[in-house]
């Protein structure tokens, strides 16, 4: 690699071509992005089952020298000795060090000088809970995620809860009044809700209520008022402020599952009502209320319960669109911005967490299914 020949670009750095960066900075960058190792090693390091090299320090062996000393911090000196192709590290008592190891860096070595790197190793990756350090925030990924995850949880769970307490009664009512005017009118609403994606509805709501063109009722976005204002509010004021900011996003959040859930509830109840066991229940003289609310409903919520996992996965992690519309600093927006900023630790960490949420949500829906359906038992 030669220095100062031509203007390099990102492609050159990745491809190892010419660049204007000094060689040491180049090596540092390669190490930072992990291009100094084969792909499989990088993957295993990321998982945490291959030693990760930390606290690098470069040591030079000018031609002929076989021993060098390196300060490794707090006045500790380590002695490095070239032994054939390998480098051994000795501490100040002359014993082989068990903390530090060293290796020859083939990239930086040439005939005049051998370059070695002294480093410590640790096993740390996603299996040990280390998702790496974000490039853009310069913080551990988990620390970047935690507050944003809370924000998304707030919206996701509120939206989920609201859509359930609206959709289930609505679906039941529609099924019991199948073919009535109420059924028809609510079907129209459902068609509308199905045909307009949540984020597009959010945009329309912002234009109508966010000030600018029509009414100025709700704020243009954000999770809550800026911190300076937020801290001066009373508890009641904080609750009001939070609700004021949350109403529009939550409408947009809930609309996505609204149509599907209601139709599911309605169809499943309709199907159950035409079953033989309902006929039997009526035939033995039970009251209509009891037949429907005790016999039919219990069987009808089974498909709803089994869908809960998928919905949780989507509402918590699949909302970059809504978070972008309302400019909410949530989990999805973080993942989306990480892609734009090429912040790979966050991008990968986001994927890991989302997949984990979905898996946990799947288990949750299995548990929910077993709870409402006594025919299913884990054995």
């Amino acid at each position: 690699m030669q220095e100062g020949e031509s203007v390099g670009s990102v492609g050159d750095i990745m491809g190892g071509g010419t660049s204007i960066l000094p060689a040491s900075a180049m090596r540092e960058l390669k190490r930072f992005y992990g291009f100094d190792k084969p792909v499989y090693q990088r993957y295993l390091i990321w998982l945490g089952i291959w030693p990760r090299e930390i606290k690098h320090r470069e040591v030079e062996f000018p031609d002929g020298m076989i021993e060098a000393q390196k300060n490794v911090g707090r006045g500790n000196y380590m002695t490095l000795r070239l032994e054939g192709d390998k480098v051994s590290v000795y501490d100040k008592n002359g014993n082989l060090s068990d903390v530090w190891s060293a290796s020859i860096d083939p990239d930086g070595s040439d005939e005049a000088m051998i370059l070695a790197t002294i480093f410590q190793t640790e096993y740390s990756g996603i299996l040990t809970g280390n998702l790496g350090t974000s490039y853009t925030y310069d913080q551990p990924v988990t620390e970047v995620m935690a507050p944003r995850f809370k924000v998304s949880m707030f919206f996701g769970l509120t939206g989920l809860f609201l859509s359930y307490i609206v959709c289930i009664p609505l679906g039941i009512r529609k099924a019991l009044n199948h073919g009535s005017a109420f059924d028809f009118l609510s079907s129209v609403t459902i068609f509308v809700a199905y045909s307009i994606p949540g984020f597009a509805l959010g945009g329309v709501l912002l234009v109508i209520f966010g000030g600018g063109s029509f009414w100025d009722v709700f704020p243009l976005g954000g999770f809550r008022s800026p911190t300076e204002i937020w801290q001066e509010l009373s508890v009641w004021g904080q609750i009001k402020d939070q609700l004021w900011h949350a109403i529009l996003p939550i409408i947009a959040w809930s609309i996505g599952s609204f149509a599907g859930l209601t139709v599911l509830m309605k169809n499943s109840l309709l199907e159950n009502i035409s079953q033989d066991y309902i006929r039997t229940a009526f035939a033995k003289g039970l009251q209509e209320k009891r037949v429907i609310w005790v016999h039919a409903i219990r069987n009808s919520v089974i498909p709803i319960a089994s869908g809960i996992g998928g919905i949780i996965g989507v509402v918590i992690a699949g909302s970059y669109l809504i978070e972008k519309v309302f400019n909410i600093d949530g989990f999805g927006k973080m993942g989306f911005e990480a892609i734009i900023d090429r912040d790979y630790p966050i991008t990968l960490g986001f994927l890991v967490i989302v997949v984990m949420i979905r898996l946990v949500a799947n288990i949750l829906s299995d548990i929910a299914l077993a709870t409402v359906d006594p025919r299913i038992r884990f054995k």
Binding site: I196, L270, F282, L351, R358
Partner: protein
């Protein structure tokens, strides 16, 4: 044969007749077909180039022939001729030159650099839905985006179906280890957040129309496999399959000639909803900036620009309403198709 015996109709014909009785879906179907067919001729309807013009005895067809400089028609403008201006001056001068413009004489790409275009023009008689942040006509872009959205969703759905039918069908038909293997793959694949994966890929390679469809198909073929697997699994145990096999038909023929036509009901009833999914996905991707390359007209990109200029309401309302109207028509069709193909008669006791 008794005289009054009715000739029984084929099942497909019966379903079609049933579909026709469902007015909401049927009319949406006809309207959507007409609109989509028309949208292929959009350059003749919505364009800033003249259809036909006669200049000093010679005929020109700028829509077909493309670029003409203004100087060719004695117009003092830099670059391409401004046909709207030509029309105005020639009508006034009345010197034998004439020009026929498209019904709506604005192009979706004609921005602020064109003569007479302004940014953020509110809706008016000239610009029906106003102009956007670069002075492009919102209505023209809306119409062109309609064509792209529907085409995208149709091609995407058909591709997904082909893959879904082949893989899902094989899973159901062959069963065993093949089924087990693909089930695991599908489980892993389906736990990935699809939109996010597409965004990651699009951020690395700038997609074109077909590349985007390709990427989307790779991550999205799963939905259909569930349905097809179940259908093939059920059908394969029926007698006609055993009969076909015992007559020495190959597996391929049994699968696609015998089983597939018998398992088309879920395929067809699901189709409109898959199209809805495709359109919404494209709008979402375009909104995030990872869809079609600019300056392709797209509802998502228009919505993005609109939300950046929230006081210009037409820039948000136009794409959302266009998308909404299109989707609700597709949903109506889907509902009617489902009713026609898979009728459920609910009997309410008491």
């Amino acid at each position: 044969m008794p005289e009054n015996q009715e000739i029984s109709l084929s099942i497909l014909k019966k379903r079609w007749l049933k579909f026709k009785t469902l007015k909401r879906g049927y009319y949406s179907f006809i309207l959507l077909i007409i609109l989509y067919t028309l949208s292929w001729f959009l350059p003749l309807l919505i364009n800033n180039r003249a259809l036909v013009l006669s200049y000093e005895g010679e005929m020109y067809f700028p829509v077909l022939s493309g670029y003409h400089t203004g100087a060719e028609f004695g117009q003092d403008v830099p670059g391409e001729a401004v046909y709207r201006q030509l029309q105005a001056t020639w009508t006034e001068a009345d010197n034998g030159n004439w020009i026929i413009m498209p019904v709506y004489p604005y192009s979706p790409y004609e921005d602020i650099t064109a003569v007479g275009n302004k940014m953020y023009d509110p809706p008016s008689n000239t610009h029906w839905l106003g102009t956007d942040n670069t002075g492009r006509d919102v209505f023209a872009r809306l119409c062109y985006a309609f064509n792209i959205s529907i085409s995208f969703a149709l091609v995407l759905t058909i591709l997904n179906y082909i893959i879904g039918v082949i893989i899902g069908g094989s899973m159901g038909y062959f069963g065993g280890k093949f089924d087990l293997f693909f089930q695991r793959i599908i489980e892993i694949w389906s736990s990935l957040p699809m939109l996010f994966v597409i965004i990651i890929i699009s951020s690395i390679i700038r997609p074109s129309f077909f590349l985007l469809i390709f990427i989307y198909t790779i991550v999205n073929w799963i939905g259909m496999t569930y349905l097809m697997r179940a259908e093939f699994y059920r059908e394969k145990s029926k007698d006609y399959v055993a009969a076909a096999l015992s007559m020495g038909q190959t597996n391929f023929k049994v699968m696609f000639k015998h089983i597939l036509p018998n398992s088309l009901v879920p395929v067809i009833t699901y189709f409109p909803f898959a199209v809805v999914g495709g359109i919404s996905a494209l709008v979402g991707l375009d909104y995030l900036g990872f869809g079609m390359p600019p300056p392709t007209p797209s509802w998502g990109q228009m919505l993005d620009v609109g939300l950046q200029n929230i006081s210009k309401w037409w820039m948000v309302f136009a794409p959302v309403s266009a998308q909404f109207v299109t989707l609700i028509m597709v949903v109506f069709i889907g509902e009617a198709v489902r009713e026609a193909f898979d009728p459920k008669v609910y009997s309410r006791l008491r």
